[in-house]
């Protein structure tokens, strides 16, 4: 199966197709994580993006039913250097190629992903078109150039749950992944950490929320009611939440006026608010700040973030193409975390209100667990009131 990736700058990469026989447009971006492709594929924040992995050997451990971050993969297309011809891991249920095929996502392998990444680093994120169908270079380029791009488009509405629901009421999906130790029961898949009682009710605005955020919140003893992204402040408040969570999500944060308005209203209530990624960008706007598009974004599992209060450095998992402009934030907001690679804002807190947020992913999955304590901090913030 011949496959193609065309970029708006006129470049064309041809290689071997895998996954579904399909075509798609999207913003082409690269991720530097060496593990965790299944979590990346299923992260709703990648809606409308064609993702390439800088690590060349992908698919080695297959896919399994546990390591998912939502109900299906969301990437528009997946571009890698070499697909493993074999799956080798005790938890694997299927191969990466089967998984993408079942989900209608085109894959491209056998191209020089390093050349592609270098192009994206120099030119910045580019619009592109991927196809595993019979299509000429000229047509592929035309489709790449005619795609309108992410700026100003609301992709949140496409990935948010349409109806409100309570996360994992039966406590079947929230236990942390754990390996069997010593003489514990034989099927390691059944080994679970016990969960604390779910005694604090909160609402979570779902802009395209990763499951591991929900798992981490549940592990902290929160009873989480998930609301559609379009929910108003009044709709949230009728559940009498002790805390409000704002999730990650795809696309341009400046296209989400309704979400910014809801958060502005909620900021008046004094209820503690915690935001991650897009939630951080929405909070930034609700407080009067502005967002801007990064040249090629931060996507990977090795981004160093310095906590300016404690002086400690956390290695974080990140996935964002936009950032909050520090200079645009009002005086009653304090930037308390920065990225050590490019000094951009990675977190801020309100000086008088119980509000804090981070641009990166403390829920990891994929990525390091260094920032997991932030979920406990959210609980402490609520309990201290």
């Amino acid at each position: 199966m011949n496959a193609v990736l065309a970029l708006e700058d006129g470049s064309v990469f041809r290689g071997e197709g895998f996954g579904a026989r399909a075509s798609a447009s999207g913003e082409v971006c690269f991720n530097t994580s060496m593990t965790g492709y299944q979590e990346i594929l299923t992260d709703p924040s990648y809606k409308a993006q064609i993702v390439t992995m800088t690590y060349p050997l992908i698919g080695n451990y297959g896919v399994n039913h546990q390591d998912v971050e939502s109900w299906k993969p969301h990437v528009a297309g997946f571009v890698i250097r070499e697909l493993s011809p074999v799956v080798s891991n005790w938890r694997a249920d299927a191969s990466l190629a089967q998984y993408l095929e079942e989900n209608g996502i085109p894959g491209l392998q056998g191209i020089d992903t390093r050349a592609l990444t270098r192009r994206l680093r120099v030119r910045g994120a580019l619009n592109g078109f991927i196809s595993t169908e019979a299509i000429s270079d000229a047509e592929a380029l035309e489709r790449a150039k005619s795609w309108p791009g992410l700026m100003g488009v609301d992709y949140v509405k496409e990935v948010t749950h349409r109806e409100a629901f309570v996360w994992d009421e039966k406590d079947e999906q929230s236990a942390d992944f754990k390996l069997r130790q010593g003489l514990e029961p034989a099927d390691a898949r059944e080994v679970r950490e016990p969960l604390p009682p779910a005694d604090i009710p909160i609402v979570a605005f779902d802009y395209g929320m990763k499951y591991n955020i929900l798992r981490r919140l549940r592990q902290q003893g929160f009873r989480v009611r998930v609301l559609p992204a379009t929910a108003t402040a009044a709709e949230a408040l009728c559940h009498r939440p002790a805390g409000i969570f704002l999730s990650n999500g795809p696309g341009d944060p400046a296209a989400l006026g309704y979400a910014v308005r809801a958060v502005q209203d909620l900021l008046q209530t004094g209820i503690p608010i915690f935001g991650i990624c897009l939630g951080h960008q929405i909070l930034g706007q609700a407080l009067g700040g502005k967002t801007f598009k990064l040249k090629f974004g931060h996507r990977g599992a090795n981004q160093p973030v310095k906590d300016l209060v404690s002086g400690k450095v956390e290695i974080t998992s990140q996935n964002h193409g936009f950032a909050v402009d520090a200079a645009s934030l009002p005086n009653d907001v304090e930037v308390d975390r920065i990225n050590l690679n490019d000094q951009t804002v990675e977190g801020f807190r309100h000086k008088t209100k119980p509000v804090f947020c981070v641009q990166y992913h403390p829920e990891a999955s994929p990525g390091p667990h260094d920032s997991t304590p932030l979920f406990a901090q959210f609980r402490q913030l609520i309990q201290s009131r």
Binding site: P56, R81, S84, L179, R180, N302, G367, P368
Partner: protein
């Protein structure tokens, strides 16, 4: 935190002569440390008896002692240098950095602690303290510590009667089992039991031979997958993983004799992160305050169970590999951390713009292959086991595992261009075979079932003679992912050969 100003001179202990099991990797780390510390304005004193090292070149240290690396000699050096610092009216103390010269340096430093030398002359050990070295090096202390912090270790038990021994075997529930009689000279009377009969025999014999009628029984990890993590920690407890390594050869072969690959290839992110968390838990529990450590894990391929095997509280052979594989100069950074810097205060040598507090992520694969010289030692047993026998190693970088493997094999300087197919004959014992001859199945089976220097080439011979990946897995327990990669190389060789005909 900036660098410490209460240190006047740093004494670095080198690794001494090159022997099997300890080679030029410690010249590499020691040289880096000398350079880094002089850059920071410290007076560097070096002791190393090996003149064929870069670090003993005059420009690398302020004073170089080419003297035996023994506690007695190093004590004399400490006495002389302490007096020198005093005579010069120098501000600050003498510090000893023992973590860059391999096991020799570590052992010598521990002997100096026990003799009281360091206390008597007010010498501070930096990089790792005596307690941490003790915890990392003493097998039982280390194992107890791991259990205490909730990490998994091989299941074991002690028995004083055959009945108790049967109970322990029952509890562990599978063979093979390792039996070690207590307090016998060199552990005589122990062994590995693969079934119930063998187990009863060895346990009975062990109990008889042990002067206290006691045997230690432990589950065997033979055939499990082996992994390594290279960790760095600074004074503020920032921890980072520099490099993850997967061994091509499963447990049972010394890491120094294993083909090793960076980064890890066959773990999901969930499993990898558990290993990362465990690595940090180990370095913190052992108490290595600053610098690098190497932590080794075994993973059961059937259920993912992950046990800690050991840790080296110092720069090791793998650190040299990890430094070259990632561009992160572990020894240099370890030296700077030892004198008080934090990771985010040190510049990243690769980007020159960002700090060293990050985890290298690579877009290539690194393969290291040990170099053996059994032809020079006809008396030596060429079987690979837990005692290191290689005399050197070669490393190669490629965009695929296949590329890096072939390049590393070509780098070994054994006359081969890769796995084979280069037209050169194979000498197996007394016999000579053509490059593309099909070797006898019995020979192949024998060479695959017991780890040896030629095993990698016999995977090719086996695939060419019709063995399947599953056959190979059953014989070697090498992960199917690696075997399939080699099969792709062999298939390509066959495709090329068929066009030539």
């Amino acid at each position: 935190m900036p660098k410490r100003t209460d240190i006047h001179s740093v004494l670095i202990i080198g690794a001494g002569p090159i022997i099997i099991g300890q080679a030029c990797e410690f010249d590499y780390s020691g040289t880096q440390a000398c350079k880094a510390l002089r850059e920071e304005g410290y007076r560097v004193i070096l002791v190393n008896s090996n003149p064929a090292t870069i670090m003993t070149d005059p420009e690398f240290a302020d004073r170089t002692y080419i003297e035996p690396i023994t506690p007695e000699c190093v004590e004399k050096i400490i006495v002389r240098e302490s007096e020198h610092i005093k005579a010069q009216g120098g501000e600050g103390k003498l510090a000893l950095l023992p973590t860059l010269g391999g096991q020799t340096a570590l052992n010598t430093a521990m002997a100096l602690v026990k003799r009281g030398t360091l206390d008597n002359y007010g010498v501070e050990m930096i990089g790792a303290n005596a307690e941490a070295i003790q915890k990392g090096e003493d097998r039982q202390v280390f194992k107890d510590l791991m259990i205490q912090i909730g990490l998994d270790v091989p299941i074991s038990g002690t028995a004083h009667t055959l009945e108790e021994a049967r109970g322990i075997a029952e509890r562990i529930g599978r063979f093979p089992l390792i039996i070690r009689p207590a307090f016998t000279l060199g552990g005589t009377g122990g062994g590995i039991a693969y079934n119930r009969e063998e187990y009863e025999d060895i346990a009975r014999r062990g109990l008889e031979l042990s002067p206290v009628t006691e045997v230690l029984i432990e589950e065997s990890l033979l055939g499990w997958k082996e992994f390594e993590m290279e960790v760095m920690r600074d004074r503020a407890d920032n921890c980072v993983i520099i490099c993850s390594i997967e061994n091509f050869d499963p447990m049972g072969v010394h890491t120094g004799d294993s083909i090793t690959v960076a980064p890890i290839q066959t773990l999901t992110d969930k499993e990898y992160q558990i290993m990362r968390d465990a690595s940090f838990a180990v370095i913190r529990a052992v108490g290595v305050e600053t610098g690098g450590s190497n932590i080794q894990f075994a993973v059961n391929p059937d259920d993912g169970r992950m046990v800690i095997i050991e840790m080296n509280p110092r720069v090791s052979r793998s650190s040299a590999l990890a430094s070259k594989a990632t561009g992160f100069p572990i020894a240099k950074i370890a030296a700077k951390l030892a004198v008080g810097y934090l990771l985010d205060e040190i510049r990243n040598d690769i980007t020159r713009e960002t700090p060293a507090s990050f985890e290298p992520t690579i877009d290539y694969v690194v393969t290291k292959i040990p170099r053996f010289a059994f032809e020079k030692f006809p008396q030596a047993d060429p079987t690979l086991n837990t005692q290191m026998k290689s005399v050197g190693e070669a490393m190669a970088i490629g965009r695929t595992f296949k590329e890096s493997l072939q390049k590393a094999l070509r780098s070994l300087e054994i006359g081969r261009s890769g796995l084979g197919g280069d037209g050169k004959p194979w000498r197996i014992g007394e016999k000579l075979y053509g490059d593309r001859d099909i070797l006898p199945a019995s020979l192949i089976r024998q060479k695959l079932s017991v780890p040896n220097a030629e095993r990698i080439f016999f995977i090719r011979h086996a695939l060419r003679s019709g063995f399947t990946v599953e056959d190979l897995f059953n014989l070697t327990k090498i992960d199917r992912w690696f075997l399939t990669q080699i099969k792709e190389i062999v298939d390509f060789e066959e495709a090329l050969a068929s066009t030539a005909n």
